[in-house]
């Protein structure tokens, strides 16, 4: 292959900014355009910026069916998660010190929870079922007298599995516990209706939905009212919940991206579902592969596959013209295989062998076809190189071998 651009199948890590979004953003930067500070009340520059920010807020609210006044701008979903979790914990710490979350959350949820543990909070980390789903039953069983917060993601970023946030919300509301949902992977993929969901806080990210990086939002419910302690102070912007001059161009970008998401969710989804079916059908023709995550209960834009007897990083190196990610230890800075895949209770080697393919708005059928062709070729070659594959073909059960771990 020539030096053409690699095929991008990593939409779950980030999406490109939609051209239409980038165009809108450019209108909010330079002197000849609208560059004002939305907090400036004394002149038209400020008023125009404020207007753009409020319009964007309504676009975000509109996608998830909430009141625009319930949207707080943040620098991304990581900050939104931090604000929700630490914000609730610190505001309501006199009510209780117990938090429930899961082992398959994003680090943006797990790390704030760990931080709270260091400050005297008690956190329960729920195990997913073998399909990678956190069941309402598991949440119910973990609720205690002193539980103040449940934080469970909507769609898992590695597996694409969907948690039943409607049922979990019923449980938390009944028990007077706040419910936070990380929905970074959900917007533009599945319907979210906050007028019916009993979710108290929800985190959003722009750059997973064709908006810019560096901007996100936290939904904070007004009725029944949810209060949080601010984590960033300095001017009292965003009703005191998040200070700092608003990044108008970023916000406009997120607003436009979410407006487009609402308009194009159906057509995006039809296309991606088609790719998912095609990919799944073809990849199943490869021997000894495992789909990670409950195939009946996931979004079609993410497909996580383990290619047994092949290590994921070498597979990625072999697929050098395809941009994907792996749960392999070798692709992580920590040299630990994916904690999400490990939480499914499978063998570690299946985590090492996993690749996440994620499709999006700009994926073409050719991209998928070419990837599949290359994939089966590289898998064959790497298995030719694999002593484990050789042993498998010789009928040796690898679980009975005494390995010399080093």
């Amino acid at each position: 292959m020539s030096k053409s651009k690699p095929i991008y199948l990593d939409y779950a890590s980030t999406t490109p900014i939609d051209e239409r979004v980038a165009e809108k953003m450019l209108e909010y930067m330079t002197f000849n355009n609208n560059f004002g500070n939305a907090a400036s009340r004394s002149h038209s520059f400020g008023w125009q910026a404020d207007e753009a920010v409020e319009l964007a807020r309504s676009h975000v609210a509109n996608l998830v069916n909430c009141d625009p006044r319930e949207i707080v701008w943040t620098s991304g979903a990581t900050e939104a998660d931090n604000l929700a979790i630490k914000g609730i914990a610190n505001f309501y710490k006199t009510k209780g010190k117990h938090i429930i979350t899961s082992k398959i959350e994003h680090k943006a949820v797990l790390d704030p929870c760990r931080q709270l543990e260091r400050h005297g909070f008690d956190v329960t980390y729920l195990e997913p079922n073998e399909g990678g789903v956190i069941t309402p039953g598991a949440v119910r069983d973990a609720i205690r007298e002193d539980t103040i917060l449940v934080s469970i993601m909507h769609i898992n970023n590695e597996l694409g599995t969907i948690n039943d946030i409607a049922s979990i919300g019923e449980l938390t509301r009944e028990n007077g516990i706040f419910f936070h949902v990380d929905a970074a992977q959900s917007t533009g993929k599945v319907d979210i209706d906050l007028s019916t969901l009993k979710v108290d806080l929800m985190s959003f990210s722009a750059h997973k939905t064709y908006g810019p990086k560096g901007i996100g939002a936290l939904f904070v419910r007004r009725k029944p009212r949810v209060r949080i302690e601010a984590q960033i102070h300095g001017g009292g912007h965003e009703r005191g919940m998040r200070s700092g001059t608003l990044a108008t161009h970023q916000i406009v970008g997120m607003g436009e991206a979410f407006r487009l998401a609402k308009e194009e969710m159906k057509s995006d989804s039809v296309k991606v579902t088609e790719f998912h079916e095609y990919f799944l059908e073809e990849v199943k023709k490869i021997d000894e592969i495992y789909i990670n995550g409950d195939i009946q209960n996931k979004v079609p834009n993410i497909l996580n596959v383990s290619f047994n007897f092949i290590e994921g990083e070498s597979l990625i190196m072999g697929l050098k013209d395809i941009a994907v990610s792996s749960g392999s230890a070798c692709t992580s800075a920590s040299l630990e295989p994916s904690y999400v895949l490990r939480a499914l209770g499978r063998k570690d080697e299946l985590a090492h062998s996993s690749i996440r393919f994620s499709f999006g708005r700009f994926t073409t059928k050719d991209d998928v076809g070419n990837t599949l062709k290359l994939l089966s070729n590289v898998v064959d070659r790497l298995r030719e190189l694999s002593p484990l594959w050789e042993m498998h073909l010789d009928g040796i059960d690898l679980d009975t071998v005494e390995w010399q771990a080093h």
Partner: protein
């Protein structure tokens, strides 16, 4: 992953042309074959190295080598590099090969040094196995 061009080239060439780069197997039961296998699937790498030797005087010389490796790109590149270093060497010379030598040739990033350690261990084991048969 910030690999040197050497690692990438070695990996890609081995993948493209496995026979030329000594991928394969000997019958481990043969008297002139020594087999070493180190690592574990759960850790993400397993290296299997086989040497075929002949005796010349009181020296044993490595005539041919075959390997198979399950692991990341640098583990595969390290094995392929090691194999080339071994052919034609006496067992005493082969014992002198250290993981440092491999890491230097391939310019392995620090986090990947364990791949070269694995390679060193595999040759030690293969020699032991061969010597136990003599």
């Amino acid at each position: 992953m910030a690999y040197s061009k050497k690692v990438v080239d070695k990996f890609e060439n081995t993948l493209k042309n496995p026979e030329k780069f000594n991928v394969g197997r000997f019958d481990p039961k043969d008297g002139d074959v020594g087999t070493g296998m180190v690592g574990a699937p759960a850790c993400g790498d397993v290296m299997k190295l086989q040497i075929k030797c002949k005796q010349e005087g009181n020296q044993h010389i490595i005539e041919d080598v075959k390997f198979k490796t399950y692991g990341c790109g640098s583990a595969i590149a390290s094995s392929a590099e090691l194999v080339e270093m071994l052919i034609g060497k006496t067992l005493d010379e082969a014992k002198e090969i250290k993981n440092k030598d491999l890491a230097e040739v391939l310019e392995l990033p620090p986090i990947k040094i364990h791949c070269s350690v694995l390679a060193e261990d595999s040759i030690k084991q293969a020699i032991e196995d061969y010597e136990s048969k003599q």
